[in-house]
Symmetry: C2
Subunit: 95 residues, 2 copies
């Protein structure tokens, strides 16, 4: 479907993608974490998409098995080529 093509395009073109909701604290935490590490995530706020929000959320569940937010996609290969994988891994190990 067209919506599915849009999601796949978003994920392939952006090394860090976060499907989020503006009023969700878990989503806010993950967005700030990436920014703190110097990575600017590509953010899609599902609650600001009107009727498309729930459609995208259902589609993501079909594609990933996850129906919750934040739904995070990280292209580790692309990040590694940009030398940006290390900070992310150090932060993950530090936690």
């Amino acid at each position: 479907s067209r919506l599915e093509e849009t999601i796949k395009k978003t994920i392939t073109e952006n090394p860090v993608v976060v499907y989020s909701k503006t009023w969700c604290s878990y989503s806010s935490e993950v967005k700030s974490l990436f920014r703190k590490l110097g990575l600017e995530p590509f953010v899609i706020e599902l609650d600001e998409m009107g009727a498309q929000g729930p459609q995208v959320q259902k589609l993501l569940e079909r594609l990933t098995g996850q129906h919750t937010v934040p739904n995070v996609f990280i292209d580790t290969v692309k990040l590694h080529h940009k030398g940006e994988l290390e900070p992310l891994l150090s932060e993950a190990v530090a936690k």
Copy 2:
């Protein structure tokens, strides 16, 4: 108003009250924390109240200044009399 009276009655009759939303992870965390400490919170799930949910959330903001969930009320005097304040404070200090 009648809704305001209901809220005040809830808070005075229950030593631990959590205004929550069922799909919110911050709300889930605070509810499990109280249960882990042996305190059974009185939980109001705002997203299960239909049109009354947003009304209660607005009223709580007027009463407390807080418009977010989880919105937690703890009657420390009542808990102290029941000998239940100590575990709560120890947990708070431990964090």
